[in-house]
Amino acid sequence: MVEPALLEVAGLHKRFRRAGQDVTALDGVDLRIAPGTTLALAGASGSGKSTLARCVVRLVAPDAGTIRFAGVDLLGLGEAALRAMRPQLQMVFQDPSTAFNPRATVARILADPLRVHGLAPRAQWRARALALLDMVRLPGTLIDRQPHELSGGQRQRVAIARALATGPRLVVLDEPVSALDVSVRAAVLNLLLDLQEQTGVAYLLIAHDLAVVRAVAGTVAVMEAGRIVEHGAVDEVFARPQATATRGLLAAVPRLVLREG
């Protein structure tokens, strides 16, 4: 039995004009994500994975194709209906240092989605912000700090807390750990796994590093030149890669070489 999809993308096309030339970023992309699962989009720079992610959260308008989210035609939504849908569809960016208003405090950053979407009265904002900090395992003492006073790992936890503030059903994670120190990556990935089990949120994980994909995703779609060239269970795809792009990505993962001496 096929589970009903939370997100269903079909025939997505997008062209950009760059330096006077038409560039095809998406060339007919289909994908689906079931509730509570993780689909990884892997591919080299320029493969179209970030454009696809930006189409899904409607930061970029595709030229053709459909995006159905929770049974609703996302591209057919007007301004007001899209705004009402936003709380269910959130995004976490690669670089936590550029994702925030640098002068806002953590309290303000976490209260913003509640205020914008009218999800809680002002009197509850601080308590909700503290609960969100606890949820991402940050001490409440950070609540009055500004982003530049936090470490990279702490900033990315705040970004994850902000994305979860609205109780989303899907979060797009755009390279969520690639800007972080290697020693804090595992903790952030563990946090994402915990939050998924707790809330049933689904993730669309954008990553060029297949070790990160391997660690947390159940399904992977490999992109090249605006198309999905391979798709399937991570175990299957990594054990028996069919597409050249997949083989290239697998071969490019740095391997620990233990020479004699």
């Binding site: 990279g152 595992a186 903790a187 740095p254």
Partner: protein, 280 residues
Amino acid sequence: MLAVRGLGVAYGGAGPPALADVSLDLAAGRRLAVLGESGSGKSTLALAICGLLAAGARVSGTVAFPGLAAAPVLGRDIGVVFQDPGGSLNPVLTIGEQIAEVAVVHRGLGWRAAAAQAARLLDRMRIVGAQAALRRHPHEFSGGQRQRIALAAALAADPVLLVADEPTSALDTVVQHEMVELLDGLVRERGLTLLFVTHDIALASMLADEVAVLFGGRLMEAGPVGRVFRHPAHAYTRALLATRLNLDTTVGETTLGARLPEIDPADFSVFVPARRVPHG
């Protein structure tokens, strides 16, 4: 080639020093990886070796080049590549001018000979259409190409030491892989001495003969790559090895409830956290 003794570097302010009491040696023709995370002091060490520390930095200890007859000249005896090629390349000059200038200034080549050499270097860096590429500007190239162009400029005066500070960290894994193979080939064929700064333990093992592990401005341990990674002496090195993500690490949907090992920053012990069950 290089002897660092008791090197300490402190920038302005009352914070801890960026580097404290670091000593290490790099023999001619050897490849050293300086491994560390943000705040480890690895970039400060590279800058100190290149003589590029900010004017206000307070320095103790010594950096010496016993193999050289005179103090090294940056650009001539030491070539440098940084993480961001924007920091090495001038946006308003053609790449031909920039690469050729290095050989004109430091090796006294005429412009025509320097341009011919620049084209050969670009070709070696696998820049397609090297001759035409000389007349183009940095923004016309991809990030990976810019980094290879920066490498061509760093090698144009035929230096004996190449310092590469996270040269692949801004690149995706496929482009990184190409760059690592290129760097490895160039170091071997030119007999370069390499100081390679990285946060990636696997890249260190692939590119270097020796590794120096830095944390919090201090040297945790140093030695041949094989020995340090097979028998790490320091808990921090052991923790990095134990928590490294690789293609065999599976904990997500396929192993529900499993978690990745994490490092406790207090003592570098490694633990697998319990999964957090829904609360409230």
